[in-house]
């Protein structure tokens, strides 16, 4: 077995949490059940990986099998990677029947016609997702297995999710191969990025509960519970205000759970406007800013601001449009009295 393949398998196993190694090897299916039985999964990971490499040696593992193991790891730990979303455009013809074999052949063909030293691996999953792993080399160097690009394509949709490797120069070739293989005319990168692949899918496949739900306020109850000397008008104000905020939040965000995004970025190229009495900046040029919001769960976080009084309700459309515009990178310019995002 090639030494580099052995090392790559060893390092891939080392990445796995110890109590998941058996499950991943089983999914891989390259080692027989009998072979897996011989492995002691209770020892140090270093030793486990050495033993796995031994078994792979017995089975003469090649780079193909090693790459398949890497896909399995990355499919389970997909959220460790940063994913960008690309949208493909058809030439306007009828939807053709999707032939997976044809797709693979064309994809490999297109890439290999430009670059011989690549490792291309496919794996299909139950949810109609096709995972593609590409390890890139150069005309003179073998592919770097440690910096592959990942592509996830749902053939019934025009969307592709790409976790590019650091080697960005291969991106154009990757994009070309995708449109050639899928019979599309064009591909463009959307301004939408996240670690949560499922949330990106939720957003572009519109699998989240949409805005504009109607909300019927529950009848106000418990008047009698209020302290006797409380001004009823104040209590009513508070309740109304709370309900109003709740209703506006529902309208902005919908009822269901929000897709999980970690950040949103806004490049502001708008004017600075202030009260003339303050006698401050009155420039004719934009006040250039870059604002970045980050949170483990950005949309839920933004949703919680209005009930706490940290933001006015309804929340700004710049924030509430993230899911239905399917973007989390924005460039905002001034246009008369409202904002435009090109």
């Amino acid at each position: 077995m090639d030494e580099t393949v052995a090392e790559y398998i060893r390092r891939t196993v080392l990445k796995m949490p110890r109590d998941e190694i058996k499950m991943m090897l089983q999914k891989w299916g390259f080692l027989s059940e009998a072979q897996l039985q011989t492995l002691n999964f209770h020892q140090q990971k270093d030793n486990i990986s050495q033993e796995v490499v031994q078994l792979c040696e017995e089975n003469s593992a090649g780079i193909k099998q090693a790459a398949a193991l890497d896909i399995i790891y990355n499919h389970i730990y997909q959220n460790k990677r940063m994913w960008s979303v690309y949208q493909m455009k058809k030439s306007g013809e009828e939807e053709e029947y999707f032939d997976i074999a044809d797709f693979k052949k064309k994809f490999k063909g297109r890439i290999r016609s430009a670059l011989k030293n690549v490792t291309i691996t496919f794996k299909e999953y139950e949810d109609n997702a096709i995972w593609i792993r590409v390890a890139w080399g150069t005309p003179h160097k073998k592919p770097n297995q440690y910096k592959p690009s990942y592509v996830v394509y749902h053939s019934q949709t025009p969307y592709v999710f790409i976790s590019a490797s650091v080697l960005k120069s291969n991106l154009p070739l990757l994009c070309q191969a995708l449109i050639v293989a899928s019979n599309y005319r064009d591909i463009r990168e959307m301004e939408l990025r996240s670690h949560s692949l499922n949330s990106l899918k939720d957003i572009v496949f519109k699998r989240y509960s949409q805005n504009f739900q109607t909300y019927s306020p529950k009848p106000v109850q418990g008047w009698n519970v209020e302290p006797e000397n409380a001004d009823r008008r104040i209590v009513h104000e508070n309740r109304s205000a709370k309900e109003r905020i709740h209703r506006l939040n529902q309208e902005s965000f919908g009822c269901g759970p929000q897709p999980k995004l970690e950040f949103a970025q806004y490049r502001l190229d708008t004017m600075f406007k202030s009260d003339p009495k303050m006698d401050v900046l009155d420039k004719k040029e934009p006040f250039r800013c870059l604002v970045k919001f980050s949170s483990p769960h950005l949309l839920e976080s933004l949703k919680s601001l209005t009930p706490l009084g940290m933001a006015d309700a309804p929340l700004s459309p710049l924030l509430t449009c993230i899911t239905h515009k399917a973007r989390n990178y924005f460039k905002i310019r001034e246009k008369k009295e409202s904002f435009v995002s090109p």
Binding site: Y266, L268, T270, F272, K273, S274, M278, D279, V280, L281, D282, K283, P286, F287, R288, C289, L290, V291, K292, F293, S294, S295, P296, H297, L298, E300, S301, L302, S304, L305, L308, G309, M310, A311, D312, P314, L315, S316, L318, L319, I332, F339
Partner: protein, 289 residues
């Protein structure tokens, strides 16, 4: 006061320093630096024996150097700065390899007259202490100084109020070459899903705003800082409807320097070093008094 020797102060720049306030040192003698270095070295070796010094490889020999930083002071009334450096030379290595700097800490007073004026003789005022390196070494050096000079160290937190002073002041400084953005980082930690907001403004635009707010050159008032911040809050609110003033300002960053509320600063420009140190000395003194 303006031009500190760039070479002597180069070690300060572009490093993240953790800040402490230090009460006056009793019985400190400038002439005994060599002795102190020996004593501190012995102390560290003893602590290592006791197994209390972690992160130190068994083979490492810790060398201690103490030196005066004559340039790091504001006026004649200030004490000169004091630099402590811990280096290692691996005993295992046979060649005369260079010492590796493991940790530095320096005491400083920049226009700290408020403190030194009111202190009895035999006390040395160096209220600001800055460290760079592993926490375990800071603890060792700190304990030795505390025991030897009967002083007290406390982490110097920087309040949002002081951070806003810093960002307003630093945004107004003129920088010749292309400067980095004026960035304010806010945190809303108590939400069920914590939110961080980075608000970065083009340095020319931030300076232009500050220039219209500041009425008297060379002088800054709390009112002016408030107006500057209110302008930034208002611009933000106009777009996002969020009240930034309700969030906690945790970090500010400009081409001059950056500061974090946990008491960590990074100074990028030697030209404004005295100004930054003066502000930090002031904060340290407030914490002591």
């Amino acid at each position: 006061q303006e031009n500190l020797d760039a070479q002597k102060t180069a070690f300060v720049l572009r490093k993240a320093w953790t800040l402490y306030s230090v009460t006056p040192l009793y019985g400190f003698r400038r002439g005994r630096l060599r002795d102190y270095a020996r004593l501190l070295s012995a102390f560290i070796a003893a602590e290592k024996q006791k197994g209390l010094a972690v992160e130190v490889g068994v083979e490492l020999d810790i060398k201690v150097a103490l030196s005066s930083l004559a340039d790091l002071r504001g006026s004649e009334l200030d004490q000169a700065g004091l630099l402590v450096q811990l280096s290692s030379r691996s005993r295992a290595s046979s060649r005369n390899s260079e010492d590796k700097l493991l940790w530095s800490g320096w005491f400083c007073s920049m226009f700290g007259d408020d403190l030194s004026e009111n202190v009895p003789e035999n006390f040395t005022c160096l209220p600001l202490f800055l460290t760079h390196g592993a926490e375990s070494y800071t603890a060792l050096v700190g304990s030795w100084f505390q025991k030897t000079f009967d002083c007290c160290f406390r982490r110097l937190a920087i309040s949002p109020l002081n951070l806003s002073w810093m960002v307003a002041m630093w945004a107004g400084y003129k920088l010749d070459r292309a400067a980095s953005a004026v960035e304010l980082v806010f945190s809303m930690p108590r939400l069920s899903h914590p939110l961080d907001i980075s608000y970065a403004i083009h340095p020319e635009d931030a300076k232009a705003l500050w220039d219209t707010v500041q009425k008297t050159p060379g002088e800054i008032t709390q009112g002016e800082v408030d107006i500057f911040m209110d302008c930034l809050y208002a611009h933000f609110h106009r777009h996002f409807k969020i009240h930034l003033s309700a969030a906690k300002l945790v970090k500010v960053s400009t081409g001059i320097a950056s500061a974090h509320c946990d008491g960590i600063v990074k100074i990028l420009h030697s030209q404004y070093l005295p100004g930054v140190l003066m502000l930090l000395t002031e904060l340290a003194i407030s914490q002591i008094q």
